[in-house]
């Protein structure tokens, strides 16, 4: 007599501590082994794209903050860049430098959240708080500059809302000096911990070819060993002036493209961001940050696709202008949305605990997926 067996369907989320927001994963399980993963999205949908059509161009900026709420600076950066290219605005040198500094600080802050929560997902809670302690200082830098800690509305079309605070440069230098030892501590505590390596190495292997076929970008792509970074491959702003490496996954602890590689690429990217900030702080010129802000933003009819490298990958804005003050269409190519698609492929045959590890290593933000 054969026992009757059946697949167990487990709903992970939308209320679950490790789905990084309101994501629902439908897991089809055989015991603890995953047969299939189906992500269900849309719990955070806010009609950003439709909403943008009813706004004037500058009014859209606060809404872009809410896409990837862990990297708001970069969302504004990408949007402002797209409109500037559409209108042909030349931005003052100082503004470019400040944007790069802010963008790289934002990259560090965002990676800190990603790495800290990843540690918490794996079960190590202490690194999470260490990461948030350091992120707090970056948020303080943003706060003294523009008054907001999360949603800044700082980078405007053609300029910035405020110049740097007089203390900004000094405090940034102090932060960089303190942050390097902290990063070393994080490596000792988590990165090279044997249990952590056992949990992440050889788990969720994403081969380079699959990654490219799915259109993955950002650290998740570089973890697979593909040297693709828009800051280098399609330079925008003044990124061609700085000297920095593009870290890629090498399979140091397991196979190239596993969770550990994706994790470690982020650690090394933070070091590179520190280098960029140091160079930018050295070279920053004096000047006015609001001189190029247009009084009336009315781009000529036409369309543009402009992309930037956010902490999560390629953020693209496709904007169609009909010559009025409102955009006719704003389409966002969100990196998290594209990166999430691969999860079914990665999870097959792994265990429930690995779904958490894989999802965390892709580092998604639901605000950006659902828009």
């Amino acid at each position: 007599m054969a026992l009757k067996t059946e697949e167990m369907v487990l709903n992970m989320g939308p209320q679950h501590p490790s789905t990084h927001g309101v994501l629902r994963l439908e897991l089809k399980l055989e015991g603890e082994i995953i047969n299939d993963v189906i992500p269900h999205i849309g719990y955070l949908h806010r009609c950003f794209e439709k909403h943008a059509e009813a706004m004037t161009y500058p009014q859209v900026i606060p809404y872009t903050d809410r896409l990837d709420y862990l990297a708001s600076m970069y969302n504004e950066f990408g949007y402002a860049l797209a409109i500037e290219r559409l209108m042909g605005i030349e931005v003052p040198e100082r503004v470019e430098y400040i944007r790069v500094i802010m963008g790289e600080f934002q990259r560090i802050a965002s990676h800190l959240v990603a790495l800290g929560t990843y540690g918490a997902d794996i079960g190590a809670f202490t690194p999470f708080l260490f990461c948030f302690r350091d992120r707090e200082r970056i948020l303080h830098l943003f706060e003294i500059t523009c008054g907001a800690r999360l949603l800044y509305n700082y980078i405007w079309i053609g300029g910035l809302s405020h110049d740097l605070h007089p203390d900004f440069i000094r405090k940034s230098k102090e932060f960089i000096k303190d942050f390097r030892p902290n990063l070393k501590e994080l490596n000792e505590l988590l990165t090279y911990n044997q249990i952590f390596i056992d949990r992440t190495a050889n788990v969720g292997i994403l081969p380079a070819e699959t990654a490219i076929n799915y259109g993955i970008s950002g650290p998740s792509l570089r973890g697979s060993g593909v040297k693709w970074d828009i800051r280098r491959n399609d330079p925008y702003s003044i990124y061609d002036k700085f000297d920095f490496e593009i870290p890629v996954g090498t399979g140091e602890k397991g196979t190239a493209g596993d969770c550990w590689d994706r994790y470690y690429v982020r650690i090394r990217e933070m070091e590179e961001s520190l280098k960029i900030i140091e160079q930018a702080i050295e070279q920053i010129p004096q000047g006015d940050v609001s001189s190029a802000i247009p009084r009336r933003v009315k781009p000529p009819a036409g369309q543009i696709y402009s992309r930037v490298e956010t902490p999560r990958g390629e953020l693209g804005y496709f904007i169609i202008s009909d010559g009025s003050v409102n955009p006719q269409r704003v389409k966002v190519r969100a990196p998290s949305f594209v990166n999430l698609e691969v999860i079914g492929e990665l999870c097959k045959g792994h265990m429930v605990a690995d779904v958490i590890a894989i999802l965390g290593s892709i580092d998604i933000v639901l605000g950006e997926i659902d828009r």
Partner: protein, 358 residues
């Protein structure tokens, strides 16, 4: 002992037995749980550059009292499709399992619930009851996460009982007793008589025992850690995967029972480790009572030393919890079956040979 004293006081065997069985709860487990929860929060906070609870009382020392009051007031939520009988029974069984273990834990020469000769076997047997309670809770909750947690817990606790038992066998072979009180008495006077340093034997035997006993102590500490579901073996609870595992559906006092059982268990296993390998209630360097000729002071000192050792191992458990990530369920099994059990067997055989030949 304490029972005879109560018997003389009350004049009734039943009353004496009831009072005696309640003593550890009110004298030790509840105060200890209150203290340990606060300790855990403070320890984790200071490890993480925070302060922890600071509002209730001086530096938050009354925080856990406030928490208990909150838990008592909470509504007891039972979902419609829960299996009511098992759902209600589960926390009681889990708590009973860990509470019953306290009966034979020798706090001192006098403060000892029951001086039975099968103490070690008894502890292993009654703590096995916890598995039944956890399985019941996970099943009756009618929740897939709870079920997964309960299944993980059952597999884990049963697997890790094997290395624990093998090491207990080693101790039995060396000491020749199953009685925890005798075992503590056996490791008497100074710390070099503790079993971790070879026990009160002399010559070549002691030298041979020292490395083996250190390994044994490490194995039993690791496997008891897994039996009480503490990090890095907390996969049945696994907050970030299974929400809270088998106690996801519990609230109010029933949750508090699980919570209390967890902390009682932490101390119970710490007590077993210290009774087996660290001299139990024996002081590492003689007694003040002997020095000043005050015999009544000795049990108090013994109680002090036992509690200090127990709390030290509880602290180590917390320390590990806030440092290490969590294993995956298959790695956990591999660790037990492929490393701990073979090592424990090898130690068992070598110690057996030494006791026979030397």
């Amino acid at each position: 002992m304490i029972y005879d004293w109560l018997f003389r006081l009350t004049g009734s065997e039943t009353a004496a037995a009831i009072i005696q069985s309640l003593l550890p709860l009110f004298l030790f487990i509840l105060p200890f749980a209150l203290f340990a929860v606060l300790l855990e929060r403070k320890v984790s906070a200071h490890m993480q550059d925070r302060l922890g609870p600071m509002r209730v009382g001086y530096h938050g020392i009354l925080q856990t009292v406030a928490d208990i009051i909150k838990l008592v007031q909470k509504e007891d939520i039972v979902a419609k499709d829960n299996d009511r009988l098992f759902f209600d029974l589960s926390p009681v069984i889990v708590f009973t399992g860990s509470y019953a273990a306290f009966a034979v834990i020798p706090f001192s020469g006098i403060f000892l619930g029951s001086n039975i000769d099968l103490g070690l076997i008894y502890i292993v047997a009654v703590t096995g009851l916890v598995v039944a309670g956890i399985l019941m809770g996970g099943w009756a909750s009618n929740n897939k996460y709870s079920l997964l947690g309960a299944m993980r817990a059952a597999a884990q606790i049963i697997s890790y009982e094997i290395p624990t038992l093998l090491i207990i066998l080693v101790v039995i072979m060396v000491s020749g007793t199953l009685n925890l009180y005798t075992l503590s008495e056996w490791q008497t006077s100074y710390f070099w008589n503790w079993l971790i340093l070879g026990g009160p034997v002399f010559g070549i035997e002691k030298l041979l025992f020292i490395p083996l006993m250190m390994m044994s102590a490490l194995i039993i500490f690791t496997s008891t850690l897994a039996e009480v579901n503490r990090t890095p073996f907390d996969i049945p609870e696994a907050e970030s995967e299974l929400v809270s595992g088998y106690h996801t559906e519990y609230s109010g006092m029933k949750f508090a029972m699980f919570f209390l059982a967890e902390y009682a268990n932490m101390f119970a296993v710490a007590a077993i480790v210290s009774a087996l390998f660290f001299g139990g209630f024996q002081s590492p360097f003689g007694y003040l009572g002997d020095l000043f000729n005050l015999p009544w002071l000795i049990p108090i000192e013994q109680f002090f030393w036992f509690t200090v050792k127990g709390i030290f191992f509880v602290f180590v458990q917390m320390w590990l919890r806030w440092t290490l990530p969590r294993f995956r369920v298959d790695q956990l099994m591999t660790f037990c079956w492929k490393y701990l059990i073979p090592f424990a067997f090898v130690i068992l055989i070598i110690v057996g040979l030494i006791t026979v030949l030397v």
